[in-house]
Amino acid sequence: MFSNTAMQKRLQKELMQFQQEPPKGMTIDTESVSNTLTTWIVHIEGAEGSLYHGEKFQLQFRFSNRYPFDSPEVMFVGSEIPVHPHIYSNGHICLSILTDDWSPALSVQSVCLSILSMLSSCTEKKHPPDNSFYVRTCNKSPKKTKWWYHDDSV
């Protein structure tokens, strides 16, 4: 069975690999990484040529001890939250790989890349239509939200 130590080992590997070959515009805030590796913060810069160029965001990852079978909890934190049709102003992200379409073959790195590409493909900066209602009523953890996924076009 996948034990706690196997989970730690996998996170250790991901951390090392991410630090050795960080994707462009991304760094791990090593100070944010707890001893148990269960919380990480990744700094992400908006890609060149996208609407978010020049902006910097922080993505927070939290791992349960069922990781990688259970998806990490991923959300934007800090003062800068991207204005995007699939990102709520409290940092929650509507992205299917974070819940229903999660797979243990995904990683912190691949999730970061997906989120960056979601930002890069955005054509109009606006909040989700239900933003104010959602932000008022949702749970603190985006993993508690029963998302239904609209179009993939943005």
Partner: protein
């Protein structure tokens, strides 16, 4: 796609592979005992990165490969399939996958050629212990079988004749399973023995 540093060495991998093959072909020249474990560990380290499980990212152990060609440790894949029993897809490519259509991989010299799917972790259900043929009175002292015998006085002779008849045929393990009381052969045997004891006791009573 990123090249891993150890892949970048180009000729390093294939050279080692050739060496391993040469060694394989002349097993007699060397001490087979030492050559074999050496080769086994060698493949796991020198090919680092190629044979990593897609779930734990470690070298796959009890390796299985899916129809779509993706490699996993069996325990890792098993746990994933258990996580999503209703939607079993390959973690890498989302192709359909199931416990029954993955292929176990056996490296050379792996001492244990058992299908990894049959050991750890055990399948959830449907397991039935093989009937074992023990000598008489084996396990007799355990007493955990619970003889499951209840016979009223009235029905006793019939049960007793039926049973003695069976014993006479010597079919200790060969009875069809009883419809509602699943018993393993040992229990059946034990209840036969018990019956015989009861019969002898009755006999002794009658004679006395």
């Amino acid at each position: 796609m990123h090249m891993r540093p150890d892949e970048g060495e180009g000729s390093g991998g294939p050279m080692n592979a050739d060496e391993a093959e040469v060694r394989q072909r002349r097993p007699m020249d060397e001490e087979g005992a030492s050559a074999e474990p050496d080769g086994a560990t060698g493949t796991s380290t020198q090919q680092d990165g190629h044979f990593e499980c897609n779930i734990c990212l470690d070298t796959a152990k009890d390796a299985v490969v899916s129809r779509c060609g993706h490699l996993f440790c069996w325990p890792c894949l098993y746990q994933w399939l258990e996580t999503r029993p209703n939607r079993q897809t390959c973690p890498v490519c989302k192709a359909g996958i199931s416990k029954d259509n993955v292929i176990p991989l056996y490296g050379r010299g792996s001492s244990n050629q058992q299908d990894p799917r049959e050991k750890l972790p055990p399948r959830p259900q449907g397991e039935r212990p093989e009937p074992e043929t023990h000598g008489p009175f084996h396990n007799f002292g355990l007493g955990d079988g619970g003889f499951q015998m209840s016979f009223g006085i009235g029905a006793f002779p019939f049960g007793f004749f039926a049973s003695t008849f069976n014993i006479g045929n010597g079919q200790f393990g060969g009875h069809p399973p009883r419809p509602n009381v699943p018993q393993n052969p040992e229990e059946q045997f034990l209840s036969k023995v018990f019956l015989w004891v009861a019969v002898l006791f009755m006999f002794w009573l009658l004679m006395a």
